[in-house]
């Protein structure tokens, strides 16, 4: 293995990156912690020290907090169900030897490269607009009343938009997992009398279990911080205010930096609890 010399060289080489990461992470975190114990409202000119946990208590005790946690759970849960379910179906499809498979694969991955703001705007204006949107035209074609997506089904609409973005990720991971399945296992199951549904349930799905837990873990961590999609569509109205968005509103719209910082710290703690819990589950799954 590495000699003493090589190890110290490696440490020196990696130091700048570690340093940058620490600065980028620790300074904002420390500043948030620092502000969260202050009554800091710049537009009123107040900056008073040592509020203690007042900001935290105020943030948690407001009705908006509970609603936002519930909204976050529903949003993340809905997106996970759609992306994992859809990802498995798409991966099954893309695993077949179909004509033009390589092109289809690239097309499937494409949404992942679209910036969240752009995709949300495209969905909002081109698909979900109740007058000019494609969906409105489709509904009218069948003689139906167009749905006002973002006011009637706001949470569902945002779930759709974000699921569209994350479906490629889930598909890609699940497809690679599916390709690592020994085809002789499927043939053996076929000889053993398992039909297509049983082959999926008894062979393919258990084989995908690890990949599915990895997809859930990674997506949850990213989905907890959804912001752009809410910002450009509903602006947090109609019960689409997640915890992240609530923090933003407290800081920017109410100009209460102390209160918002307290919310931010709470969000970090909650996200870490979830992440550690998921890591444990994944770890157990990977040990098998």
């Amino acid at each position: 293995m590495a000699t003493q010399h090589a190890r110290s060289a490696a440490r020196a080489m990696i130091a700048p990156a570690v340093f940058l990461l620490l600065v980028w992470m620790l300074i904002p975190l420390c500043m948030t912690l620092y502000f969260s114990v202050h009554d800091y409202r710049p537009l009123r000119g107040t900056f008073e020290c040592c509020e203690g946990l007042d900001n935290y208590i105020r943030f948690v005790s407001s009705g908006a907090f509970q609603d936002s946690v519930l909204t976050t759970i529903m949003m993340v849960g809905g997106i996970l169900v759609i992306t994992v379910g859809g990802g498995i179906l798409l991966a099954l499809l893309l695993d077949q030897a179909i004509w033009g498979r390589d092109i289809v694969r690239i097309l499937v991955i494409a949404p992942f490269f679209v910036m969240p703001t752009v995709s949300a705007l495209v969905w909002k204006n081109m698909f979900m607009n109740p007058v000019n949107g494609l969906f409105a035209h489709l509904w009218q074609f069948f003689g139906l009343q167009p749905v006002e997506w973002l006011t009637q089904l706001p949470l569902f609409s945002i779930i759709m938009i974000v699921s569209w973005q994350w479906l490629p990720f889930a598909t890609l991971i699940l497809l690679t997992a599916m390709q690592s399945l020994n085809s002789e296992q499927l043939e053996a199951a076929e000889m053993d009398g398992a039909g297509a549904v049983n082959r999926f349930g008894y062979i393919i799905l258990p084989h995908l279990a690890r990949a599915i837990t990895v997809v859930i873990l990674i997506q949850t961590i990213f989905l907890l911080s959804i912001f752009a999609e809410i910002f450009v569509t509903t602006g947090g109205a109609f019960d689409t205010r997640t915890l992240t968005y609530l923090v933003y509103q407290r800081v920017i719209e109410s100009q209460n930096i102390g209160l918002g910082s307290a919310g931010g710290i709470l969000a970090v703690i909650l996200a870490n609890i979830i992440a550690i819990g998921l890591m444990r589950i994944v770890g157990k799954n990977l040990d098998k």
Binding site: E184, E187, E190, D192
Partner: protein, 341 residues
């Protein structure tokens, strides 16, 4: 019950014909080995019988019933795969019970058959382990177990021993032969190893490029190879095939003589050919000598006894047993037996 008949079975992948139309009859209870070099179509033929590949034309009958269009599970055959294809997330018990679970057999019967199979295969202590915790030989036995509990009309083996080390392979070879003697069920076994074919088979089917070169018992193939390919393929080390003037003396295009049918003597004296020893392989029981400079174009391989003290560069006399000489014509086909003098 396991009589399998192939009639004019043909398989083509797109424009390439892997198996030209062939006929084959497999009797109930027979142990049939498909043997041939890699890429000869033996595995494809097995998969056609199993139903994992569709045949392009022709008919496959099992016990007189046309099964050409039946899905694999309905043909009543069980297959053991080269990679064993065990289900890694299931315990050994669940692996073995899987076909019965799919068939909807009740739990008590499932348990009974699993226990019985485990007892036969010495797996009773491992039933609650996962395949990943077993050795190669044990995994192989689990794969057998999964096949046995189905009580199939015939077992299909696709090079089942090729992932095992040499010592284990010999052991498993015996176990499969014993299993066949006990179950008396038809078995079709694919291998590229002619030693496996010779030791296990009731009937060997030698394949080359999808064509059947010869069908027969191991000794028939050994004693009377129908053509040059079979002559060269069956037997280890290979039969010496000699073309040219030496063959013409016997009125043939090519003559063949097995290494074990040539007597070796040291120094000058009587003998048909004289040559120098090249490489000699000492196996203990036998010594295989590769002889050069015999006046023939080919290097001659001979089997001598293990005790024979012969070294590189020694001159030896070779006396082939003329009664064991094989003669082949210009097309490589076997010619009638020589008249004994």
């Amino acid at each position: 019950m396991g009589r399998i008949t192939l009639e004019q079975v043909r398989k083509a992948f797109g424009p390439t014909e892997v198996i030209p139309p062939l006929d084959l009859e497999i009797d109930d209870g027979e142990f049939v080995v498909f043997v041939g070099p890699s890429g000869c179509g033996k595995s494809t033929l097995l998969r056609l019988i199993a139903g994992l590949e569709h045949i392009s034309s022709g008919q496959i009958q099992i016990d007189g019933k046309d099964t050409t269009r039946l899905p694999p599970a309905k043909r009543g055959l069980a297959m053991v795969f080269q990679s064993y294809a065990l289900y890694p997330h299931m315990s050994v018990r669940k692996n073995i019970a899987f076909p019965m679970r799919m068939a909807g057999i009740d739990a008590a019967e499932q348990t009974r058959r699993v226990e019985a199979a485990a007892k036969v295969l010495n797996l009773s202590d491992y039933l609650d382990r996962r395949p990943g915790q077993l050795s190669g030989g044990q995994r192989q036995r689990v794969a057998f177990g999964r096949a046995i509990v189905r009580e199939p009309a015939a077992f299909l083996f696709d090079e089942p021993l090729s992932n095992l080390d040499a010592a284990l392979r010999v052991g498993m070879r015996m176990e499969i032969s014993e299993l066949h003697k006990r179950l008396k069920t038809t078995m079709i076994y694919v291998t590229h190893d002619q030693v496996e074919a010779m030791t296990m088979a009731d009937k060997i089917v030698v394949l080359q490029a999808g064509r059947i070169e010869q069908v027969g018992s191991p000794l028939e193939l050994y004693n009377r190879p129908r053509n040059l390919f079979v002559a060269g393929f069956i037997g280890s080390p290979k039969m010496n095939l000699i073309a040219g003037a030496e063959a013409a003396k016997h009125g043939a295009a090519t003559i063949g003589i097995r290494p074990e049918h040539i007597a070796v003597g040291e120094g000058e004296g009587e003998g048909l050919w004289t040559g120098k020893v090249g490489v000699s392989e000492h196996l203990g029981s036998d010594t295989f000598l590769h002889i050069h400079e015999t006046g023939l174009a080919e290097t001659i391989t001979v089997r001598a006894s293990g005790e024979m003290a012969i070294h590189h560069g020694d001159t030896v006399r070779l006396a082939p047993d003329m009664a064991k000489l094989h003669r082949f014509d210009g097309q490589g086909l076997r010619m009638s037996e020589l008249q004994k003098h």
